[in-house]
Amino acid sequence: MGEEKKRVNVSSNPHIRDGKSTAGIMFAVILSLLPATGYGIYHFGPRAVAVIGTTIAGAVITEGLFGACCKKKSLSDLSAVVTGLLLGLNLPVSIPLWMAALGAVFAILIAKLLFGGLGQNFMNPALAGRCFLMISFPKQMTDFSVKSVDWGKLHWDAISGATPLAALKAGERVDVMEMILGNTGGTIGETSVIALVAGACLLILLGIIDLRIPASYIVTLALFVTVFGGRGFDPAYLSAQLAGGGLMLGAFFMATDYATRPITVGGQYLFGIFLGLMTGIFRIFSPGAEGVSYAIILGNLLVPLMEKITRPKPFGYRKGGGTHAV
């Protein structure tokens, strides 16, 4: 020994790592959104591909250009693809493509990158993009009545109509079975409960998300609607409320966004309950019929507060902190 100069690595412990990576998690989220994406394309026709393609391209190009300017490589974590895809799923199929692109740029640049990029954003970028478009172009963003859309030279019929929640609010009857299957009007990715829940199951099985936020959100909303909905305990009305309005997409895929939900366990329950209350208020007491997006964005803003009041007590914590026996 002694003579040879072999090179070995030296670093601080621990020296082993779990297999999960940021890109792996993002990839899993993309996979889990595929059922809803696929159904959206099947349901709304090829133009849905154009909308989703535009938002993904817009998000990725924005992230890439910004990265090139700041000498930061962030495309490989796939988070821009997730944001682009989520935004696309949150848009009506008839939206002009330039608006979709603008929404994607806003989501990535304003809501995420300018606040420090992945993990630093305080608001879900896809939802921020959606709400930005809602405020800027309310007509196009809430137009779900399109029966036929021009796409290039093709004319095709989309099975669309007013969203079930709007119909419900107007006092019409809605077919809950159709809502669960997804055969209704709405944004591209929000209509099919089955496809969304299938994707959510995948996320839960892979350990990417857990049920804390979605369950507390959905249960709270159900209770709120039962108490304040004016219909008492009406299973048909209740299930329509839960199946509609992008609740499944929001509860499983957007309220669970790591960066914009509380990191503490208690905070996550609190967050879910808050979202349920806000969604209920928006749906029942505001002129509109939907409320998921605004509820989540509002919830995002309160995350630091929720984390603060639910910060866990360190192991072995004693009041006063001193050394004394129990």
Partner: protein, 439 residues
């Protein structure tokens, strides 16, 4: 029955199959022996030999430097070559006694002993203190200090830490299989110090053979029981172990004795047994040589002070060139850049890995997934603590319970962004502890 465990923790690949079925082999060192004066927590020992002195195996060569300190003994016979700073596993230079091994292993006579039954608690404590025994699981806290709480009658549990939760390590496992009588004997001796305590052998349930064996050995003894713990890292951490066994929580400002517990590692208990029944000081321990780059993974009974380089040679060297060599296990061990460092009282293993996964991973930004919070056995928030540490925000670091971190490494292990959370928090804790000392 719910399994005994704690909240949080991880399940890394345990790698124990490499060496768990290899019986302990004895090795006699041929080369130079190095005895750092600081192999324990507390004041360094004071050398009581000088350059040129002839020393014998089992001879005291350094005296404890205070109450929280421990003497050091020569493990071979030879001549003191020098007393000089030598590099140790942590990378620090530590004043050490260097002995030229003459290869004859001539021993001093063991201390006179009398039957344990006739010894008073003070005599037992004195024998342990004299033997230079420290916590051999890695921390190196002088054992006699642990065994001298203010009110010994308030100790309710003496726990033998047989968890060995650190991946790849099998030295405690082999010790339990091959010398369980010594382990139980050591526990019985310690129980003599605490009239109101019950003895618990706490073993992770991935070692069912040890559990069976220890249960058989202790079936007759009403004061001792064997508890199976859920296999999970860091189950063998002192605080997590106490919680799993008793449900009591100890924070960083407390000692286990504050909740009526005394915890000692397997090898430590065996050393206590040797010291009290045979009058032998602490000069040997079991070290696991393992990892996928090791030609012949195995467990050795070594003489403390032998260099890792020589030990590796004896074991047959590497099968392939390792990318990383670790003193200890992969979770809490220290990466070595040179093997010419001595084994000490706290050396548990030499782990050689063909690949260093950590260097292959580029740390990314925190995505706030919360995995570190979920696995943290200290129930703090490593993601925020690491950020505060990186910004040297002392106030926030303390407010968020940074001092409650036990540096187990779970947060870094689980982080999908591959942040060096443990490293940042550890550095900050070091700074804060140094500041506290100054005050």
């Amino acid at each position: 029955m719910a399994k005994l465990t704690f909240v949080g923790g991880i399940h890394p690949y345990d790698g124990k199959d490499l060496s768990k079925d290899k019986p302990i082999r004895d090795v006699l060192p041929k080369g130079e022996m190095v005895y750092p004066l600081s192999q324990h927590i507390g004041a360094p020992a004071q050398a009581i030999v000088a350059k040129g002195d002839r020393v014998l195996a089992g001879q005291k060569i350094a005296e404890a430097g205070g109450f929280v300190s421990a003497p050091v003994y020569a493990s071979v016979s030879g001549t003191v070559k020098n007393i000089e700073p030598r590099r140790v596993a942590s990378g620090d230079m530590v004043m050490s006694i260097v002995v030229d091994n003459d290869g004859s292993y001539e021993e001093v006579a063991a201390r006179a002993v009398k039957p344990v039954e006739q010894m008073s608690p003070e005599e037992i404590r004195e024998a342990i203190k004299e033997a230079g025994i420290v916590g051999m699981g890695g921390a190196g806290f002088p054992t006699h200090v642990k065994l001298t709480p203010k009110e010994p009658e308030k100790i309710e549990y003496v726990i033998a830490n047989c968890a060995e939760c650190e991946p790849y390590l099998t030295s405690d496992y082999r010790r339990m299989l091959e010398e369980p009588e010594r382990l139980v004997g050591g526990l019985k001796i310690i129980l003599r110090l605490f009239p109101n305590a019950q003895g618990i052998l706490a073993v992770e349930d991935n070692k069912p053979d040890c559990i069976r064996l220890l249960r058989k050995l202790t079936a007759e003894d009403s004061r001792i029981s064997v508890k199976a713990l859920q296999t999970k890292y860091p189950q063998g951490g002192e605080r997590t172990l106490i919680y799993a066994v008793t449900g009591r929580e100890v924070n960083s400002t407390m000692l286990p004795a504050d909740v009526g517990c005394v915890v000692n590692n397997v090898d430590t208990m065996v050393a206590v047994h040797r010291a009290v029944t045979e009058g032998k000081p602490l000069t040997e321990r079991i070290v696991t040589l393992t990892g996928n780059a090791m030609k012949d993974p195995c467990n050795y009974r070594i003489r403390i002070g032998m260099s890792y380089a020589e030990l590796l040679d004896v074991a047959g060297g590497y099968s392939v060139e390792p990318q990383k060599v670790i003193c200890g296990g992969p979770m809490m061990g220290m990466a070595l850049f040179d093997l010419n460092i001595p084994t000490t009282k706290t050396s548990t293993a030499l782990l050689a890995m063909t690949e260093d996964e950590v260097s292959a991973m580029e740390p990314g930004p925190c995505i706030k997934c919360g995995r570190c919070v979920e696995v943290c056995p200290g129930r703090v928030m490593p993601n925020y603590l690491a950020t505060y540490a990186e910004h040297f925000d002392e106030e926030k670091f303390l407010e968020y319970g940074g001092m409650e971190c036990c540096e187990c490494g779970c947060c870094s292990y689980i982080c999908p962004a591959k942040r060096q959370l443990t490293q940042s928090i550890k550095s900050m804790r070091k700074i804060m502890l140094a500041k506290k000392k100054k005050k």
